[in-house]
Amino acid sequence: MISIEKIAFSYPKAKKLIFKDFSAEFSPGEAVAVTGKNGCGKTTLVRLLTGIERPSAGRITIDGEDTAGMDLFEIGRLIGCVFQDPARQLFCRTVREEIRFGLENMGLSEDEIESKTAKWAEFFRLDGKLLESFPGTMSGGEKQRVVLAAVLAMGTRYVLLDEPTSSIDMRARRALGELLRDIAAEGRGVIFVSHERSFIESFATRELVLP
């Protein structure tokens, strides 16, 4: 379970507190949609959960362990995060390398890496020629699918997504929604930030509205 306990946070140069005495819980088996108005802190919450930003008060624990003592690498092993802008998460020369990156760092065998890469590339319709393409020149929707494949292939216990459906088409959206539901059903935890009403209503088990 991911537990947020009475955190407070504001950006260094900002005047107002984005979070003040905020608490929330995310359990495995859930697919929680985080919603709220523009500027209420949805993306900030993502950054706090991944450890990119640290709360000025309170604490965040993942399966009982306080994230304050963990660095991004350690948190990344527990939470796979797909951030809002795909362009800022792609850094390999081909789609294949991109998907392999996380898997290689997990120390899996070559066979396992190959099979997972193939499986996830196929799921997100990135197989064939696309697999050897340079992600940088792909369309917005394709980039988003590459990041989804690269992160989800790692099979982390929790999955955190910030606006995962913003650039992808109807077909991919449905596939993603069903996948997230399956992940939750497996006993893992899913948290996603979205403002797509239909997506939330179809696939979220619970909605958390930020004040």
Partner: protein, 252 residues
Amino acid sequence: MSSLRLENLDARVKLFMLLALSTSAVFFRSPKVLLPIFLFTLALVLAGGVSARDAFMRVRGALRLIASLFILQCLFNRSGAPLLRAFGATLITRGGIAAAAYVALRLLIVLLSALIVLTGQRRDYLLALTQLKAPYEIAFMVMAALHFLPLLREQARDVMNAAQMRGARIKKAPIVKRLRLYVTLSAPIVAGAVRKSEQTAVAMEARAFRAYPRRTSMRRLIMKKSDWAVFAAFAVLLAAVIAGGVIWSRAG
């Protein structure tokens, strides 16, 4: 008086101040000239409305560098009369202190004078440059760089974060591996920046940028009486401060 605050001062006067102070910092070598200039710059910045806290925050980053340079100079510059002896050896000499002071003061003057310019808006400096007859393409280039550099830094940070979350242990890696990771990760950022700048160049062309050799401007910077007064006072005071410093250095 609000007209004397740096943020309300004409951008051209501020550019002149920056230029004058930085040039004198680089031109004069004697700490006896640099110290008065430094104090003058500090007084100007504080009197102009920059809070002492902001001034300190800006200089803070460089203080460590200045301190290490200071120590290095003191230890390795053996010229002049010895000032500090211990265990029979000379630790610090006069020449060492002078050289160290020179380096430190120069850096401090440049850093503080940058604060003068930071009290304004990008658009005013763009106007200032073009009204001072700089070619508009160059002025725009400088402004574009100022606009995009922080975005690039943000992007670099985001890519590093994403890579770490996918298992790249950057912080604990040995230096060679870390450097290699930095290089691999900066490639897409640079490529992305190049692509974005191409797109932006096309967008600008589509709004007729460089369609003609000159362009008009909706706004115009106009020097107020107070701007002229500050400009004149600054020039006279700086000249006096430098003259005083030169006399002092000749005397001692």
